[in-house]
Symmetry: C2
Subunit: 307 residues, 2 copies
């Protein structure tokens, strides 16, 4: 089944202890689409500038991503520069040039309207809500957000959360959104805002999915998937969107929507996040095989499962 | 099989957002022994002062802990006062009165010498090493340490690490000991110092066990167990020692020493840690049943295992 991803396309300049790269193709829609493309058909809505050429577009096309929804605007593509120090969990931003992204208003091509799954990447919550309302036939919507919107657009975000089935955020964002330091309590507060399930990403410690009572099945027990203990993280950029791509992509590839599917999806999210950080930019996500993905899924299983 | 625990017995005064308690029985040997007592025979070596009476001793005796190794010295028992703020992972120490603990030199009663398992609680590494050398017939030694010794007694600690089979420490301690920020790399460096296995506790994110190549089995894949997402942590004091008690106690209860046993032990460690924090002091650890422990083990399994 097909999934529509709405988000950013960017040129990233990244420095980490392992090296640096300049003007590498990035952005939430890019990482998400490449990651999800190993599981299902992906369609993308984003905006780029005149500096986005066929070389960049082919990265997506080679993975079978439908790029008809990429809008070309006058000006330059969104650019971000940042560096990661020894603590790879946090980026220090060197510059942000929004460029054409500043006035991005997602336009959904008619041929995308039958998409059954929707992922709302990290853009203004009012834009997320508008897209979601336009795509009112979707079976399931996943969404991301960040501290910037939690602090700066809380009211709009609350409206969006009523329209999202599964929210994917990290620990700090969950605590800030809920205004609550205890993570399980924060999760309950966020679920009360609308989503039926909440995925909280813990970086190197994996991720937990919390369910609203009765959503996708019986009971309210959360489920936790690990992250791979990786000796050599080359570049953490895009790990969260790659996680979301594996998670949503796997869900979209399944006929049923139940807790077992969501649990396995959490594992696939971790798997794709672990690949993304192995090389700079989207490099690793461009050349995976389904066999490599399944092999790593088994490693994740062995990492956590008793016999 | 029997396990000998060497560590501290203390009177703790603790304040947390959930309340406070004064002069509650605590200390590493206390938490460890109570926790391990649900799995195996436990013997304890520690020092107390004249203020330690039969009321306190009976807490241990009621759980079948052999208290003949508790030395009574002139003076007062070790006292610690501390508080936890909203972030329950870190205690702010209000006072530390070492009292009789200051000149503690562990003396192993003759009738303890046949203990097959040994746990070296968080005391000076030179004392840990002396105990370990005296107990040269043990099958397996587990040990704990802390930042204070890593910074202040590094040489002695390095000697001790050569005598310990399994070291149990937290993320911060592992990184400090290895002088390495990346956790998997830090783990490899610590393993190179001596231990065959290293348990790194991640607080609310669970724990990971890393193996030296070939130790306890084939391969080098780590294994990760979760912590329970707990809404209401009453008092985190002793969680680490309770974890160690469940971990070592379960190992001592098994005939074999292999990776499957150590993996299950990691789960039991998490289980016992999760009970410890539910009430103030050792209260919850005094009145558990094996049935409650097994039920929570199942919850931990469901929290992480795909069907």
């Amino acid at each position: 089944m097909s999934i529509l991803a709405v988000g950013s396309i960017a040129f990233d300049s990244i420095a980490t202890p392992a090296g640096r790269v300049d003007n590498a193709l990035g952005g939430s829609a890019t990482y998400f689409s490449l990651s999800a493309s190993y599981f299902t058909d992906v369609r993308v809505v984003a905006v780029v500038g005149e500096d986005f050429g066929s070389e960049q577009e082919n990265v997506l096309k080679k993975r079978g991503v439908d790029t008809r929804g990429i809008e070309r605007a006058k000006g330059k593509t969104f650019r971000w520069g940042g560096q990661y120090m020894e603590n790879l969990n946090e980026a220090k931003t060197d510059f942000t040039e929004l460029n054409v992204f500043e006035s991005f208003r997602p336009r959904i091509p008619r041929e995308y309207k039958d998409s059954q799954f929707l992922f709302l990447g990290n853009i203004h919550p009012a834009l997320q809500a508008a897209v979601r309302r336009e795509m009112n036939g979707v079976r399931l919507t996943g969404g991301d957000t960040m501290n910037f919107w939690i602090q700066g657009a809380r009211n709009e975000l609350h409206e969006t959360l009523k329209l999202v089935n599964i929210l994917l955020i990290n620990d700090g964002e969950a605590k800030m959104l809920a205004e609550e330091r205890n993570l399980p309590r924060a999760a309950q507060k966020v679920l009360a805002m609308g989503p039926q399930a909440l995925v909280i990403k813990h970086g190197e410690y994996g991720a937990t999915i919390f369910f609203r009572e009765g959503a996708f099945g019986i009971g309210h027990h959360p489920f936790r998937a690990p992250a791979l203990p990786i000796d050599e993280v080359k570049d953490p950029t895009g790990a969260g969107d790659s996680f979301a791509g594996g998670f949503m992509g796997y869900i979209a590839s399944q006929g049923e929507l139940n807790r077992e599917v969501l649990k396995r999806a959490l594992f696939y999210g971790g798997v794709m996040g672990s690949f993304a950080v192995e090389k700079f930019g989207t490099q690793r996500l461009q050349s995976l095989t389904r066999g490599e993905i399944e092999a790593r899924f088994q490693i994740f299983r062995e990492l956590t499962h008793l016999t």
